[in-house]
């Protein structure tokens, strides 16, 4: 969850979209091209001007191009059939998935940081338990309303947008893909700090589009 309804709507689409690969594995241009192929929609072709300037270009030109995105958008290049492309796309996603997801964990007052692989945990309870073991503390139980009220500590994470969120608010899979690093905040600071999650919870409850979040969670 991030700030603002726009991101929420975006998230809603992504969360409920049916496609290959892990949810939230980023819709790169290439994936767009592939999914476009599956739906028989064609991504934008280069204009003739662009093409004209490329044709007579010196050999170094391609190497110096800083933005790889336009290349990925060329329809039908390299010439691989959609079926093969799609099958391999899944494999790539799986390969990336299998590679592990290490994030730094800091704790207020601790001299150095730790690193954990989020992939090895099946869900929040396991993650929290691991954190408790690692730092020798009690975090307690998560409640939607009050966060980790019974504890001195609050586990938080920085998401892709740079916002600090409370661990446990979003579905596990979504957390996996949006979490960049973890920070275990100490009591007073944790309680006093207005986390974005509070505001967003409010929003999802009352906005007409935010319903999807709530419904999924209650299921």
């Amino acid at each position: 969850m991030g700030g603002g309804a726009a991101y929420e709507n975006d998230l809603n689409f992504k969360a409920t979209e049916l496609r290959l690969g892990l949810p939230g594995t980023g819709c790169t241009n290439e994936e767009q091209a592939v999914s476009g192929a599956k739906n028989n929609k064609r991504p934008l072709l280069e204009t003739r001007e662009e093409r004209g300037s490329k044709e007579k270009s010196d050999p170094q030109h391609d190497d110096q191009e800083t933005d790889p995105a336009p290349k990925a958008r060329i329809v039908g290049w390299p010439p691989i059939r959609s079926y093969r492309k799609n099958s391999l796309q899944t494999k790539k996603a799986e390969a990336e998935a299998a590679a592990g997801m290490y994030v730094k964990v800091s704790m207020d007052g601790a001299p150095y940081l730790r690193k954990i692989d989020l992939k090895v945990y099946k869900g929040y309870p396991e993650l929290l338990k691991a954190l408790e073991n690692m730092f020798k503390l009690t975090i307690g139980e998560y409640s939607e309303r009050e966060g980790y009220n019974g504890s001195e500590y609050a586990p938080t994470y920085e998401d892709k947008e740079g916002d600090w969120m409370l661990v446990g608010d979003v579905p596990w899979d979504m957390f996996l893909t949006s979490c960049k690093k973890l920070r275990i905040m100490k009591g007073s600071e944790a309680r006093g700090r207005k986390l974005k999650s509070d505001r967003v919870s409010f929003l999802t409850e009352f906005s007409t589009d935010g319903w999807k979040f709530r419904q999924e969670e209650s299921e």
Binding site: N40, W77, P78, I80, R84, L88, K92
Partner: protein, 639 residues
């Protein structure tokens, strides 16, 4: 009365061309210099009118019991002889001798091959050839596979299935490539042909499991049901269950491209009651444990597609403990192995027992490393066909080169088909293959970087090359060592490989490369060009220099009207010409259409292109006796 006219010189059937369709070959090597419809009305041929000039109106109907006249005796003899003539080219030549031969050839042709479904109308084909037992149809041009053709362009099977249903109720075999097939078409097929035996659909779409169900349930003599790289929609009908409960005649069941679950128990029972089954290629929804059960039931298999080759999620533990090695060892006739769609590398050693006998191995969906490949490939001494992912790297290719001395066909596909990355295979792998696999005939090689030197080496080391397709994925990449264009490499290929009939070029190429192709590529039939050339001269060299050229597909290259016009003398000899994102104007295309009335000139418009100029998006033109087709979609204009 029988005028003997000299038959048109036909291509000599080179003896390396295999007549039987190999399991994985996507090429069609057999194409006559002109269409399969070889009658006298070809404008460029100097067929003087005589008693033998075929007016093209189909075979004249000779009443069955007319009074015998001298020709008839000869015709009876001819009939008996011509039955034995199987080669299409020979038959086309025979049909041109005189009217009598034309008639008899038409009566005795049992395999009808239509290389372009729009080149002739179904009615015309069925009225000329009256005793056909097998129909092969090809539809869309190859570039349609890469989304360069908007959907719903055409190539519908429907008019063909209705025409053949009426004309050939005894039809046994239908082989379609790149056609649009609907469930209704399949239902009609199943209804109409009581003795139907073989259905092969390659790169087709438009149908689903309900169509398959119709075929499975009604075609009681079915021996072959092969679905290869086709798109099959999931209609939630379990078509495997629709096969009759009795023993079947099935010899080949290939459904590795079908992206939906089949009921495994039904599949197992089907295999059990199909004692003639030799070829079975499973889809990725079949786990390795299920594969085991099937292999145990069918040790007589010669061709096996292993499905996912990984344990299913729920019963993982039990599956890993099965004795796969024994199962493979029991399949003593296994020569062709494919599948491995979701391979767990730990399972790979199971195939050791069959490696020594394998002639064909397809790892092109298996993301394995060189280390994982080596123990397998080092046993595959008889391997002739090998498809693989570039995940094996140059090192893996070196291992292949060391062992596979009998290799005829190699395809190296990219795991990550992007342009701007390093890439695991390069000229090193190509060089190694050229040195180790001297009998190589066909290669498809995707890479990120290449050198002229390696390509030249291959041209010298592998003189038997018939198909050379190199795809340097970065557009217009030069030789990465010298910085020069790739002209010399491809030039060496056409110069040194005297048997070369199919060529696909890539990398930075100037007009010089095309000059080489025009000068030396005298038997090239299929040429594929992308992002190459400097000027019209490039295309001119090819059109003027390659007399055997039949299929030319070009994209994103700076060839314009002048070049297009330089091929007027040749277009009737070609199956098709495709040019997309080149510099052709509508006027230029119009000129061609006017000059060649038997050419169908389609200009295909792509909706998303930003039109900066008057260039035609895509030109697709082909000779045809049928004239403009009646199923033209909005985005196509026929000039």
């Amino acid at each position: 009365m029988i005028t003997n006219k000299k038959p048109r010189s036909s291509d000599t059937d080179s003896n390396y061309m295999r007549d039987d369709r190999t399991e994985m070959s996507e090429d069609d090597d057999r194409s006559p210099p002109s269409d399969s419809i070889a009658n006298g009305s070809c404008p460029t041929r100097t067929c003087t009118p005589g008693s033998g000039s075929g007016s093209g109106s189909g075979s004249s109907s000779i009443p069955e019991y007319s009074a015998p006249y001298p020709d008839r005796v000869l015709e009876n003899v001819l009939e008996n002889v011509l039955w034995f003539l199987t080669s299409r080219k020979d038959r086309n030549a025979a049909s041109l001798v005189c009217r009598s031969w034309y008639r008899v050839e038409a009566m005795t042709r049992s395999d009808l091959f239509i290389g372009n479904c729009y080149a002739v109308s179904p009615e015309r084909a069925t009225s000329r050839f009256t005793r056909v037992r097998s129909v092969t149809l090809k539809g869309k041009p190859r570039f349609a596979d890469f989304n360069l053709m908007p959907p719903n362009w055409g190539a519908h099977f429907a008019p063909w299935v209705s025409a053949t249903a009426k004309a050939y109720p005894w039809l046994e075999k239908i082989h379609l490539k790149r056609m649009s097939v609907t469930d209704d078409d399949l239902a009609l097929l199943a209804e109409s042909f009581s003795g139907f035996k073989e259905l092969v659909l390659v790169c087709c779409d438009g149908f689903g499991t309900s169509g398959l169900a119709a075929v499975a349930s009604k075609c009681r003599q079915l021996k072959v049901l092969d679905l290869i790289e086709s798109e099959v929609s999931d209609d939630e009908v379990d078509w495997i269950m629709c096969f009759p409960d009795t023993e079947t005649c099935l010899e080949s069941l290939i459904f590795d491209c079908v992206e939906c679950l089949v009921d495994f128990d039904a599949l197992e029972r089907l295999v059990v009651r199909s004692p003639s089954l030799k070829k079975l290629r499973l889809n990725r929804f079949v786990s390795i444990g299920q594969l085991y059960r099937l292999m145990v039931r069918a040790p007589q298999l010669t061709h096996l597609g292993t499905g996912s080759f990984s344990p299913s999620e729920d019963v993982a533990q039990g599956e890993l403990e099965l004795d796969y090695v024994s199962a493979f060892a029991a399949c003593k006739s296994l020569v062709c192995l494919s599948g491995f769609r979701e391979i767990v590398p730990d399972c790979l050693p199971a195939i050791y027992p069959v490696c020594a006998n394998l002639t064909s191995l397809n790892f092109s969906y298996a993301n394995i490393s060189a280390e994982q490949l080596k123990p397998i490939i080092s046993n595959c001494h008889k391997l002739q066909t090998f498809w693989v992912l570039d995940s094996i790297c140059d090192e893996g290719l070196q291992a292949v080169a060391t062992t596979c001395k009998e290799l005829r066909e190699l395809r190296v596909f990219p795991f990550d088909p992007r342009e701007d990355i390093e890439g695991p295979v390069s000229e090193v792998g190509l060089q190694a293959i050229s040195e180790g696999c001297r009998k190589l005939q066909s290669i498809l090689y995707f890479c990120q970087r290449m050198t002229n030197a390696a390509v030249i080496a291959m041209s010298k080391n592998c003189p038997d090359l018939v198909v050379f397709r190199l795809c340097i994925m970065g557009r217009q990449r030069p030789d990465h060592v010298t910085g020069e264009p790739m002209d010399e490499g491809f030039g060496a290929i056409v110069m040194n490989c005297k048997k070369l009939t199919r060529l696909a070029v890539s990398g930075l190429l100037t007009d010089t490369a095309f000059a080489y192709i025009g000068k030396y590529g005298k038997i090239v039939r299929t040429l594929s060009v992308a992002f190459a050339g400097d000027s019209d001269m490039g295309l001119k060299y090819v059109l003027e220099g390659c007399p055997r050229l039949q299929k030319l597909e070009i994209r994103d290259s700076p060839f314009g009207d002048t070049a297009l016009l330089s091929g007027l003398h040749h277009y009737y000899n070609m199956r098709f010409l495709w040019m997309s994102a080149c510099r052709l104007s509508h006027q230029g295309c119009q000129q061609i259409a006017q000059a060649l009335p038997h050419l169908v000139v389609e200009v295909i418009k792509h909706e998303d292109t930003v039109h900066m100029d008057d260039y035609a998006d895509t030109l697709y033109m082909y000779r045809s006796l049928a004239g403009r087709r009646h199923d033209v979609p909005k985005f196509v204009s026929i000039l």
